[in-house]
Symmetry: C2
Subunit: 288 residues, 2 copies
Amino acid sequence: MFNRAVIVGTGLIGASLGLALKQAGFQGTITGIDFNPNEGSAALQIGAIDTFTLDKAAQKRALASADLVLLAVPVLAVLDWMEQLAPLLHPHQLITDVGSTKRVIAEKAIQLFNHKTSARFLPGHPMAGKESGGASLAEALLFDGAMWLFTPVADETALEQEWRAWVTKLGCRTMDVDPTRHDQIVAWVSHLPQMVSTAMCAMFADEFAHVPELAAEFEAIGGRALREMTRLGSSPYSMWRDVALTNTEPLAATLFALEQRLAHIRENLRTPELREEFARANQFRRSK
Amino acid sequence: MFNRAVIVGTGLIGASLGLALKQAGFQGTITGIDFNPNEGSAALQIGAIDTFTLDKAAQKRALASADLVLLAVPVLAVLDWMEQLAPLLHPHQLITDVGSTKRVIAEKAIQLFNHKTSARFLPGHPMAGKESGGASLAEALLFDGAMWLFTPVADETALEQEWRAWVTKLGCRTMDVDPTRHDQIVAWVSHLPQMVSTAMCAMFADEFAHVPELAAEFEAIGGRALREMTRLGSSPYSMWRDVALTNTEPLAATLFALEQRLAHIRENLRTPELREEFARANQFRRSK
């Protein structure tokens, strides 16, 4: 039974996890760790965590005595924490993460964890989030109805089973995927949409910078579709840098495929092939 | 005072206009014309129009005696109706439209209308809609809060002023734009998002056709962002064909610009230039 949890990274996802666990009936203590004291205070204030400390020795004590460590930081920071936790934690302790890419995390997990004397590690990825970060935007229902992907790298113990049960209690459906396949899938369904939105916003910033009367009315003219397509333009580089660095090839492949598809449409604006593209798109939507 | 209105095209936009006008206090009679009797019946049933006829002679009588004719059909059909209406209508009658592109419509309006013996014509474009068409999806509040663009081509009379007042009563803000500039703007804010969504859906249809277990969970894995980015994939070719045919050059230019921007991001997934693109996009979103 998990009694002592540590959430590393008390931003949007970490603080939402704290709120969601408590709402789902978690009775233990949740300690928050974040390099940014403002995020820690905000998470404390909304009740997402019970205690927060910037003191390294106190953090180490909390981690050493935790049943469950949730790494809710960008991917490269997850890798750093894995290195730090490996010598500190033991087989009766479970570490899991919410990183956006899984191949590099799974590789490091195979190397560092799930051995006779090491802690357990179950890589995970909830498909939930917002275009802006921070504990102040945290919500207990952020994961409700979402898909939580796991990329297991070892046979599982009661610890992994308990965490899977909590994820289900948060309202998530779960699916196990191979880590490399995970990264290919999320390149299509998550990373590509992000980069398209970023590209469109960056392009609009350049295109409309010198027409202030239009820039001001931009969203009113564009309507709902434009708002939706550009919403992710607010997403922070700090998180997406790690995605781009740890999923470069699959993401580049999806970007290249979309560039070619857009060129195909551009070259066929006046031919019947445009009808075929709309038919394929309509069919895809109907299948949802 | 408008007493007799005719709505040509009783699909989503036409039927919503009928509902909105009545809700805003329009007391006259609204006659609906549509080549599809199902759309006419649906519009009648929800009270968007008062009468509907497929009889050509009856349609002609309604048009000849109308104060206001609203052309709510795709752009090429608007052009056809303009040709048909020119010899039939007179200076005390106003024709307006809701076509998605305005350059070709404005050119034809200059040629056929607003002369001594011809009817009045005010080209217009409400920035509202849905990804699926049909009178059954019509809503009285579809235009509430939307921007309604006008591309006037002549000095205006009391008729144009009265229509502008109705548009305001529907809850719209209005803006006058040069027709060619209109088509450039909507290429960026409306036509490009549509083609991106169509391209992504068509690509996903190909990519995931052979992985049924993923296709089924596609939206659950992708979450809100993916749903938003692919929503317009349902849009009907019948309307967008006319957009592509009458706004080819501006739309091709925006597609080419986005292709280049995506290539730029793809080539910089591991360089600090990615940070710059996110910064530009963040700045654009903050300015909204």
